[in-house]
Amino acid sequence: MRGVLYLSLRRLQHHRLQSAIAIACLALACFLPVASERLIASYDRDLGARAASTPLIAGARGSRFDLVLASLYFRGVELDPVRFAEAEALREGGEALVVPISLRFRARGRPLVATTREYFERRGLHARSGSLPLLVGECVLGARVAQELGLGVGESLFSDPREHYDIAKAPALKMRIVGVLARRESPDDDAVFVDLATAWVLEGALHGHGEAKQVAQERSDLVLGRKDEHVVFSPALIEWNEITPENAVSFHHHGDPGALPLSAVLLFPEDEKSGTLLKTRVNARSALQIVRPSEVIGDLMAFVFRIKRFVDVLWALLAGTTALWLGLVLLLSTRLRAAELETLHRLGASRGTALRLIGAELLLLLLIAALLAFALVAVALAWLPDLVRVL
């Protein structure tokens, strides 16, 4: 058998291109169904775990899939805003811990998640270096963000401006990096976290500038008018684009704090009953909706699995077609090699040896293709982006 394997290997080596094509076809036919199976199972597990760790999510009425995917995985969809007052109202019954989040901004392309300290406690996040964000203008980086951007504690990061050509909008904000989170292999690794007030600065709801009387004296060209106690400045008045310990005190808000915008509210009820009561109360009477992420992700994955069943049929057809193609190639190859096989017989090989020679070639092709497919699956599992990113 060793001699037959040797001859088979030499023949495959000699016909490199044909062998490579056959191996590629076989590997692909093996890789696609196995990879899709493993990837979907992996995504199901990962998505399910994160959804299960967040009992309820409240948000503006609309797509429950968008609400869950954005709130849990920071998918880049713009959610209708929730008023801060509405989030505060959720605390009234005392049924659940309320964790507001704002997801409307990005920094260097990464999601900027504005939230409270309870978020870190509930997600089990802790700083690998530095500390968690305590003050407006501070940020903490997810482990992968820090690695990919090469940033660390003490450095700074600019937010991405939402409107490049509208000077009335808040400019990009320079944020101080005060911490880097330990890696959790979750969407938190890919996010930048800030305090809620920082998000409102980016909204333009909070802003800071020099003391009005001093500015009016130093830059009278920016004063459009004076009325009793008020001074009206030109929009050309440059607001601070960095929050420092020196200017932090100058940041303020004009208007109703209850109107400050949020994206969603994560809810961690005391128990199942409290959660059900809260969900029922809010869904019946409020402008908000409360959803159970595990149910939403379950529905989403059920849909994915329905599609997968259809795709499985396609994979089966592909496998069948590949097998038929392989059979045809072998048949034609055997005919083309009739003289070679006859020579082998004359030289003392049995008819079975000729068959073993062809079988060994097939076996080697299948073996190499299987190894290649296995390697590709491993690479796919290691390197393919998170499902939410490609959705």
């Binding site: 001699g3 004359r346 003392g348 090989a349």
Partner: protein, 245 residues
């Protein structure tokens, strides 16, 4: 060469390497039948087998080598009755006793010249592919002048070089009988003569019997005996044996 045929009843002193008696072989469908009353090949003899296309030269060689079995009669190879053996035993005997040189050499393009020479060892567990076998292959290659070409594949060899590699393959297992099926069929006359000289020289050096199937009557003078199968075609039942001058 004498044109007058005569019966093959000349006395043979040593036990023959091959002996056929009352052999009848027909292919399925009955398009061709070979009937042979008696034929013997002496040890160390150089024999040419001639005859028109379709007269059964290759079939006769295959019967002698045990590749095919006759429907009637007996075939002995090295004193062993082939018709009494099974396929596997016949094959084992063929591997041990018979070497082949084919008209188109039938070298395998995906193997180096060295691997082509060692092919019988790759195919048969009975032959041990050890250092001695590889050394013997190199010695054979050196003897026919292709020792520098052993790493090349056949398409990178000239016609004559391929012929030499094929000869080495036929001799590697040290056979007692070498059957060459039109080994010079693809060569020009001068190359044919040189190739046949080389074949005869190497076979004689090893004391083996040589049976050459050929259409080239110009080469018959190099053989001790010529067997003409035209008489079989004519239905005389015995091949004409011609002793070249």
């Amino acid at each position: 060469m004498s044109a007058s045929p005569r019966a093959t009843d000349a006395p043979i002193a040593a036990p023959p390497i091959a002996a056929l008696r009352g052999v009848r072989f027909a292919y399925p469908g009955g398009s061709f039948a070979l009937e042979l009353a008696a034929l013997e090949l002496a040890r160390g003899e150089r024999v040419a087998l001639i005859g028109p296309s379709g007269s059964g030269k290759t079939t006769l060689a295959e019967l002698i080598a045990g590749i095919r079995s006759p429907q009637a009669g007996t075939v002995q190879l090295c004193g062993v009755e082939l018709t009494a053996l099974g396929e596997a035993e016949r094959r084992a005997l063929r591997i041990a006793k018979v070497g082949f040189v084919f008209q188109r050499f039938e070298l395998f393009e995906y193997l180096s010249a060295l691997d082509n020479i060692l092919l019988p060892y790759h195919l048969n567990r009975a032959l041990a592919l050890d250092r001695a076998a590889r050394e013997r292959a190199r010695e054979l290659a050196a003897a026919v002048g292709v020792e520098q070409l052993l790493s090349r594949i056949p398409s990178r060899l000239s016609q004559g070089e391929r012929q030499r590699v094929a000869l080495c393959r036929a001799l590697i297992a040290e056979p007692e009988l070498v059957i060459a099926d039109e080994p010079t069929g693809n060569l020009d006359p001068s190359s044919s003569a040189r190739a046949l000289d080389l074949l005869i020289e190497q076979v004689e050096r090893r004391g083996a019997t040589l049976l050459v199937i050929t259409h080239d009557h110009g080469l018959l003078g190099r053989f001790e005996r010529v067997i003409d199968l035209r008489a079989l075609v004519a239905g005389e039942g015995r091949p004409a044996v011609v002793t070249p001058r």
